[in-house]
Every structure is written in structure tokens, then in C-alpha cells.
């Protein structure tokens, strides 16, 4: 008897492999006039980025339900005249040659015994470079994309925020460490939504929260305040709306502004070292709209020793010379630099300085210069604000933390170990107490000191840490209660991490007692 035909047939799954040279063939040029170059800048960027990672093969899942896109469909696209599908295509990248035949063989052999599966999974994981979701949106196909990080230049230390994403394809469990990127779709998400969504991927992981989708963030941002008149299609968020969306996601927004270039560099360094991605609110010099990007990492070089009299303790944030940003107009992990530029501020807008400029309105401001993969300039804009979503119990401000770091660095360099003045560096950040204990007790503490810190010192979930070091080797660590608003009376532990002469230890004890704690050795 013939099988009855289904009214609503289930889609067919299909997994296939193509060489990387055919990557862009998977993206169809949309019909009609396109106001963008084709392929879009983001696709070209991703192709160049993957080429740097020596990508060889692309494994394609033709039918993939993406949580972010399906929420976009539910909120917006389901009500369009055009019948948008609710599924996407997912492309996985590998730095090894793989053919459809080999893939079929891997799946088949893995089915026969657990050892074969383990070996195949290990082989695929070694070669795995990440994935991108192709949305069925004409002109805006780049959905959730997570790619392995390109290693920073040799000799430069890199510190990047990343989440371990688990991927399941063909019965294999793969992982990639990165941070999600996507192109704004101009329906549900604008640049600020996308930038915040990227940042919240990291914060949700840190705080065990559910990762919000772009549709959730748009709805949350537009719940109470709609300066543009309507929420959808999404035309851009104000700072106030970004803050509202942060709160809805279970985090506390902090907005920083009015910093010069070095202070901007310092505060971004503190945020990223703490594992908190920073959103930058950017404005053009001249005509144009505001834009938002997410800083996801930095590269730093050692800070050169200073004159011990004028600068007894070095601010290690000064070594930050490169940032990595997710810019939804370009791509993930784009290299960027901070620069000080002169502009004229007139009628609330930045303008280039000309001979006709009023000297009273000319100012030096921090700017972000974003580079393409080939190192040419993509964009340069003034940084108007830094927005960061922090865990709600992190109440201590970055400024107050850094102020105490500056005081401690100077006091220790001049009063405790004067021989090291000019070589002592200080850096400040927030860290989970459990990570701090693990790190500090593993290196440079006596058994008694380790026990005192781990079992006899009450610490907040996140502690603010002032780390003092000499040539990269730890010297002192001062831990502060981050649930307080003032840094000075909130010292929880003062830890000496190196064997020092008894006079230095006595001075360190005196210093610790000024903050109401004993010195832990």
C-alpha cells in the first residue's frame, strides 16, 4: 500500500563537503538592485581570515536550526509576505583536506567501535576552525559565526576573551574557542544589538546565564523607551536602551566616558583582563551615524623600565598596543589600534580641525582605528563611551580600583622594595575568587599562607585584584571586596608572593596593617 503523502513534509538533512575554494559559491547573490557590494564585506573578511588559518575544506549541513535566527523569525520574519524558512545552513571549516567520500567513511567507521569514533573525533577537532551559519536573508547571510583565533604576532602576548562552544555534527562532538559574531540583519538587530549580543555570550558563560538572542535583546531594549518611534525594523539603540537590555539579561551596565586615550587604553585593559568584553560607542569625524563594536581582546608588549624617581611603579596597561574587535560591518577579531586625534566639537558633532576652527572647541580625543585583514584602514572613529555589562555584585568602580593600584604600586616601590623601583609594575582586574585562590596558592606561598588564604579568608565571588610584579614575576597581590563601592577600606588580603629580606617584610606588614589586614606570606 503506498505511504500516505505528508501535508507538511519533514526536511531532508544533508551533510556534504566542498573545498574551501568553493566557499563563496554557497552564498547566492540576491535578486534586484543591491546597495551593498557582493559578496558582502563580512563574507570577504571571513574568507581572508580562514585563509590565514589555512582552511582547506568546508563541511556543510544543509538544514540547521539556529536558535538566534529562529527567534528572529518568530519575532519579525514570520510576518513578512515572503515565506522565509525557519532554518539555515551551517558551514564548518577544517584546515585539512576532507572529501565527501572521506567524511562518509569517518561516519561509517565511527559507527563500528568507540575507539574509531574517538580517533575520528580527535582528528576532526585538531583540524576544526569553527563555523558560520548562513541565514536565508537576501543580502545579510552571515549569522552566528565562531572562528578559532588567529595567533598574535610572535613575541607579543595576547589576551583574548573566548567561550568554548560545543558543536555536534554527524554524531561527532567538536569544540571551538572564540566569541560569536554576526552581521546585523537590519530587521531585528542593529549594530548595537549585535555588539551587545557578542559581549553577552561571554558574560552568560561567566555567570551561568542563558545566552540572550538578538530578538530578546531588541525587545528588552525597546520595552520602555522608543526614541525612534517603533522597535522593528530595528534602527539602532541608544545608550539608555543598551543599558536596559543589559539589565534584562541579568547583568549591570556600566557606562564610562570622558577618558583620554591612555585612560581608555587602561580601562579597556582592566575590563578585558577581567574577562568582560567592552562595547565601544563610536562617532565619526564629520557626517554619519554612531556605531558600536565589541572589544574582545588585546595584544601587549612588556612595558620598559622607567626612571625610578619619576615613575617608581609602572602602569602595565601601557603595554596594550593592539585591540581585537568584533565589528558587524567587517568581521570577527579585526585588529584595531587606539589613537589620540584632534577634532573640533561643534553642535554636538565631531568635525575635522581646519584653519577656520575655533581653538576653544578643538580637543584631543581617543579614536579607534580598525584595520582590514591586509592591514589597510577600514574605519577610524572617536570613542565616545565604553559600555560594559558586569555581574551585578561587581560594584567597585574601575577608577577607584586603579587609583588604589596606583597608590599601592608607588608605596611598595618606594617604601617596601626600593631596589626594584622603576621595575615594579601594577595591573588591576576583577577575578573570580576561586580562580584567584587556585592561581596564588599554586605559586609563591608557604603552606601556612596558602591555608590562610584558601580557608581562613572570606572572599567575595568576584574579587578585585591589584597584582604587583617585577619583570612579569609576581611580587605582591592585594585582594579587595568588589561588592563594596570604595576600594580603600575594602582590602581582604595582602599577599607577599616572593621571598624578601626581613626589612622589606616588616615594611610590607606595616603597609598591610594600614589596610586592616595581616600580611599573608
Amino acid at each position: 500500500m503506498p505511504r500516505p503523502r505528508r501535508q507538511q513534509p519533514y526536511p531532508r538533512a544533508n551533510v556534504r563537503v566542498v573545498p574551501f575554494s568553493r566557499f563563496l559559491d554557497e552564498y547566492d547573490r540576491p535578486d534586484g538592485l543591491v546597495d551593498l557590494n557582493w559578496p558582502p564585506t563580512q563574507l570577504q573578511y571571513i574568507r581572508e581570515y580562514l585563509a590565514e588559518l589555512d582552511c582547506q575544506s568546508v563541511l556543510i549541513e544543509d538544514h540547521y536550526i539556529d536558535r538566534d535566527f529562529v527567534d528572529d523569525v518568530a519575532l519579525f520574519y514570520a510576518r513578512s509576505l515572503r515565506g522565509y524558512p525557519n532554518h539555515c545552513r551551517r558551514l564548518h571549516f577544517f584546515d585539512t583536506h576532507l572529501s565527501s567520500r572521506e567524511w562518509r567513511g569517518l561516519v561509517g567507521r565511527s559507527n563500528q567501535n568507540p575507539e574509531a569514533r574517538q580517533a575520528a573525533t580527535a582528528r576532526l577537532n585538531r583540524a576544526y576552525l569553527g563555523f558560520t551559519v548562513r541565514r536565508p536573508l537576501p543580502g545579510y547571510p552571515v549569522g552566528r559565526t565562531v572562528l578559532r583565533r588567529v595567533k598574535p604576532t610572535q613575541g607579543i602576548r595576547g589576551d583574548r576573551i573566548g567561550v568554548e562552544y560545543g558543536i555536534h555534527v554527524g554524531g561527532f562532538d567538536l569544540t571551538v574557542n572564540g566569541l560569536a559574531f554576526q552581521q546585523q540583519d537590519q530587521g531585528v538587530s542593529a549594530c548595537a544589538t549585535t555588539a551587545l549580543w557578542t559581549a553577552l555570550h561571554q558574560m552568560a558563560e561567566l555567570e551561568s546565564l542563558r545566552i540572550p538572542t538578538p530578538a530578546f535583546l531588541t525587545e528588552a531594549a525597546c520595552r520602555y523607551y522608543l526614541p525612534g518611534g517603533r522597535a522593528l525594523p530595528q534602527e539602532g539603540l541608544t545608550l539608555e536602551q543598551i543599558c536596559e537590555a543589559c539589565r534584562a539579561a541579568g547583568l549591570s551596565p556600566v557606562v564610562l566616558h570622558g577618558l583620554d586615550t591612555e585612560q581608555t587604553r587602561a580601562q579597556i585593559h582592566v575590563l578585558l583582563r577581567s574577562g568582560f568584553p567592552a562595547l565601544l560607542g563610536l562617532f565619526p569625524v564629520g557626517a554619519g551615524d554612531g556605531h558600536a563594536v565589541t572589544v574582545t581582546g588585546f595584544a601587549e608588549e612588556p612595558v620598559a623600565a622607567a626612571d625610578s624617581a619619576s615613575e617608581p611603579a609602572l602602569d602595565l596597561t601601557k603595554g596594550t598596543h593592539q585591540l581585537f574587535v568584533h565589528d558587524d560591518r567587517l568581521g570577527p577579531d579585526a585588529v584595531a589600534t587606539l589613537e589620540a586625534i584632534d577634532v573640533e566639537l561643534r553642535n554636538g558633532r565631531f568635525r575635522p580641525v581646519t584653519d577656520a576652527s575655533d581653538p576653544q572647541s578643538v580637543m584631543t580625543v581617543p579614536a579607534l582605528r580598525i584595520l582590514r585583514r591586509d592591514g589597510t584602514e577600514f574605519d577610524k572613529r572617536v570613542i565616545r563611551a565604553i559600555i560594559v555589562a558586569v555581574p551585578s555584585k561587581v560594584r567597585l568602580s574601575l577608577g577607584r580600583l586603579r587609583q588604589l593600584g596606583w597608590i599601592l604600586g608607588r608605596s611598595i616601590a618606594l617604601g617596601v622594595v626600593p631596589d626594584l623601583a622603576g621595575r615594579i609594575g601594577f595591573s588591576c582586574y576583577f577575578e573570580r575568587s576561586t580562580d584567584v585562590i587556585r592561581l596564588i596558592t599554586a605559586d609563591g606561598l608557604s603552606a601556612n599562607g596558602a591555608y590562610t588564604l584558601a580557608c581562613q579568608t572570606a572572599l567575595s565571588r568576584y574579587v578585585a585584584r591589584v597584582a604587583l610584579s617585577e619583570s612579569g614575576k609576581p611580587l605582591f597581590d592585594v585582594l579587595l571586596d568588589s561588592t563594596e563601592t570604595e576600594a580603600n577600606p575594602s582590602v581582604l588580603a595582602f599577599i607577599c608572593r616572593r621571598t624578601l629580606p626581613s626589612t622589606a617584610i616588616n615594611h610590607a606588614r606595616q603597609l598591610a596593617s594600614h589596610f586592616g589586614v595581616d600580611l599573608i606570606i
Binding site: C191, L398, W406, I407
Partner: protein, 64 residues
């Protein structure tokens, strides 16, 4: 508040005696006080960076 004085005690092991700030001004006290005074000048704008002027919150980010 004078350095070394807590207004509210931190939770800690009750057997531990809280550290006492040394009486009188030691060399380290003077260095600390001088550094604290100087830090107000050096770090002023970073300390003020969370105080937002009116109008900043209405800035819109929309670039395509």
C-alpha cells in the same frame, strides 16, 4: 576615614585578631599618605568617568 580603620568588620575567622595600624607616623605611612594625595590628581578623570553628563544616554548607535 583614617587608613587602617574599618567602619564595618569583614567576615573572617574569629580566632584571627584584626591587624592594627602602627601608632604614629612611620616612613611607610608618610609614603602611603603622599601617594594617596597625589593619586587624586593623577586619577581624577578616571574616577569621574562613571559620572555621565546629561544627554549622553540618548546617543544612538545605528551604523550600517
Amino acid at each position: 576615614m583614617a587608613p587602617g580603620r574599618r567602619t564595618v568588620a569583614k567576615p573572617s575567622d574569629s580566632r584571627r585578631k584584626p591587624a592594627q595600624a602602627p601608632k604614629g607616623k612611620t616612613r611607610i605611612t608618610k609614603i602611603l599618605e603622599q601617594a594617596a594625595a597625589e593619586s587624586e590628581r593623577v586619577m581624577r578623570s578616571e574616577l569621574d568617568s562613571e559620572r555621565l553628563p546629561a544627554g549622553l544616554l540618548t546617543l544612538q548607535f545605528k551604523k550600517r
